[in-house]
């Protein structure tokens, strides 16, 4: 951790008008974590300072923020799948095939397991769990507005579409969140392991949709049938996912500096995967498939907000 970095980071915070009412609960939560005096504490306090400064962004999340976010996503998924399976009173099971049902049960159970894990990590750290939100997966906010998915509790196709979107956005957002917990090897590995489990789920849900005749691959592809943009939040889930150009920072070992360098997949790299050789355009479409893109937390929280009230 270098001092200049810290200064840059503080300058970042100063130069923006962060809502103070948002910062206060976070500080209070940090305070509670401090009182608890658990093993989570030193890393948690350090993690706020030890991340490299990113010019122009205010997404300076603590480990608590990250845990609350991934718990929120797991809880939302758990409820979505539980209702589809008929496990929640008042929500009859969707007419899914036996095979579909078996796979969704696996997903639902693993969501529930992760809610338990993340809840425990939060409370072990001395913080309190957020209150359980009320869900409405039609997107009508309990009939306060026009439903986005009016038949989600009766039509498996609608349910599977929403399930895919929720999983794909989680896969994107995990990638950006790991960076905020890097100071903690346990949490880094826990998030990565949760992230790849999410990607397995997303793949399976896509396979189920394909088996129902939807033009969708098990991985995110420019060839997928577009997901209807029922709201701006849904449109954001796949925005930028068809990145044809992959870049990386030519950083030094300390992670500092370095311009973005794009990898010349279409020109100089010998990707001999087809006979006759693929066109440059075709190669770039494969590049888009070969990498899932990261997204900021807000992309997922906006999707979650559609289904909570």
């Amino acid at each position: 951790m270098d001092f200049l970095n810290l200064l840059a980071r503080l300058a970042d915070l100063d130069s923006t008008t962060a809502a103070p009412q948002l910062a206060a609960p976070r500080r209070a939560a940090l305070g509670r974590l401090g009182q608890a005096g658990t093993a989570l504490l030193p890393g948690l306090l350090l993690s706020a300072l030890s991340q490299p400064a990113t010019a122009g962004t205010l997404d300076t999340r603590t480990r608590l923020d990250v845990l609350v976010l991934v718990r929120q996503l797991a809880a939302l998924g758990n409820e979505l799948h539980s209702r589809a399976l008929g496990l929640v009173a008042g929500y009859p099971a969707l007419p899914l095939t036996a095979t579909e049902k078996a796979g969704i049960q696996v997903i639902q159970q693993q969501e529930a397991q992760r809610v338990t894990l993340f809840s425990q990590l939060i409370t072990d750290g001395g913080a309190t769990l957020p209150t359980t939100p009320r869900y409405d997966f039609t997107g009508s906010k309990n009939s306060a507005q026009t439903a986005l998915y009016p038949d989600i509790q009766t039509n498996p196709a609608t349910y599977l579409l929403v399930a895919q979107v929720v999983k794909d956005v989680a896969v994107r957002v995990y990638k950006s969140q790991v960076d905020f917990v890097r100071a903690d090897a346990y949490l880094t590995e826990t998030l990565l392991r949760s992230h790849s489990a999410e990607a397995r789920h997303a793949s399976h849900l896509r396979t189920l949709r394909r088996q129902r005749g939807v033009a969708v691959k098990s991985w995110v592809s420019p060839d997928d049938a577009p997901v209807p943009a029922t709201s701006p939040a849904i449109a954001k889930v796949y925005e930028g996912e068809s990145g044809f150009i992959q870049t990386y920072n030519a950083s030094d070992a300390s992670g500092q500096g370095g311009a973005l360098v794009s990898v010349p997949f279409d020109s100089t790299l010998p990707i001999n995967v087809a006979t006759p050789p693929l066109s440059a355009e075709a190669i770039l479409r494969k590049v888009a498939e070969a990498f899932d893109e990261p997204a900021d937390a807000i992309v997922a929280t906006n999707v979650a907000a559609l289904f909570t009230y």
């Binding site: 991340q51 490299p52 797991a74 095979t99 078996a102 796979g103 696996v106 969501e111 529930a112 397991q113 992760r114 896969v171 995990y174 990638k175 790991v178 960076d179 890097r182 880094t188 590995e189 990565l192 392991r193 949760s194 992230h195 790849s196 489990a197 999410e198 990607a199 397995r200 789920h201 793949s203 399976h204 396979t207 691959k217 098990s218 991985w219 992959q246 990386y248 920072n249 030519a250 950083s251 070992a253 300390s254 992670g255 370095g258 990898v263 997949f265 790299l269 010998p270 990707i271 001999n272 995967v273 087809a274 693929l278 494969k286 498939e289 070969a290 990498f291 899932d292 893109e293 990261p294």
Partner: protein, 240 residues
């Protein structure tokens, strides 16, 4: 001008008595440095940290972030070579759809391999491991079951490898790019598993009671992959 010259020479004269002790001191400095250099040389002979390929044919993946990148590059080489073979000699009992899907996966893995090659060559010139020689004699490429079983092994292993190596990466950009790749590997893994047995995309052989996927340490991954690679891989310093 002359004044300055004179001053310079005066300074030189003035400094003279000090000159010898300084020289003696610097001699000791050099002596120390030489001793250090010799020690380095000896340690270089003792273990093979600085050599990518040792005389006995072991490929050293290296240390630190470069070690992790080389490790990922080695695994992507293995996967790319496997799927290239699957594509070149598809199993007779593959469906047209499966054939098409595996040619797509083959492209993804070749792209991952080439991405790491480009990244390592640019960020750590001279430290990239060579192209590895795969050993696929245990795989019957003519049989769907054999190909699927191997694909499952490789994809699950790749996911566990990335999950276990992330904590060793010090450069944030590398952690993000590893995340961008591992989720595609996990999507492949789930796809292949569902082909073998529908619904096995995330069964309890890979997902634990906390709902978490597997993570493996580099040395364990290399041990599991070694029988498919001719060169002996040394992952003992990866990320360290």
């Amino acid at each position: 001008m002359s004044n300055i010259k004179q001053n310079a020479s005066e300074e030189a004269e003035f400094a003279k008595p000090l000159y010898t002790p300084i020289k003696r001191r610097s001699f000791f400095m050099y002596a120390g440095a030489t001793a250090g250099a010799t020690a380095l040389l000896l340690s270089g002979c003792d273990d093979d940290d600085n050599e990518i390929v040792t005389p006995n044919g072991t490929v050293n993946l290296g240390s630190g972030d470069v070690g992790v990148l080389n490790y990922a590059y080695a695994l992507e080489q293995l996967e790319a070579a496997f799927y290239a073979q699957v594509k070149a000699t598809p199993a007779a009992d593959f469906s047209t759809l499966e054939k098409d899907y595996f040619s797509q996966v083959a492209a993804h893995e070749a792209i991952h391999r080439d991405f790491f090659k480009a990244a390592i060559n640019r960020d750590a010139p001279g430290q990239i491991i060579p192209g590895l020689t795969p050993i696929f004699t245990s795989i019957d490429f003519t049989k769907r079951a054999s190909v699927l079983a191997t694909a499952k092994t490789f994809e699950d292993l790749g996911v566990a490898a990335y999950n276990g190596a992330g904590k060793y990466l010090k450069t944030p950009a590398y952690l993000v790019i590893a995340g961008q790749i591992v989720s595609v590997e996990a999507r492949h893994a789930a796809y292949v598993r569902d082909l073998i047995s529908p619904g096995s995309f995330a069964d309890d052989s890979i997902i634990d009671a906390n709902g978490l996927d597997k993570a493996m340490e580099p040395v364990d991954v290399v041990t599991a992959a070694q029988s498919f690679i001719k060169e002996k891989l040394d992952a003992s310093r990866v990320g360290k």
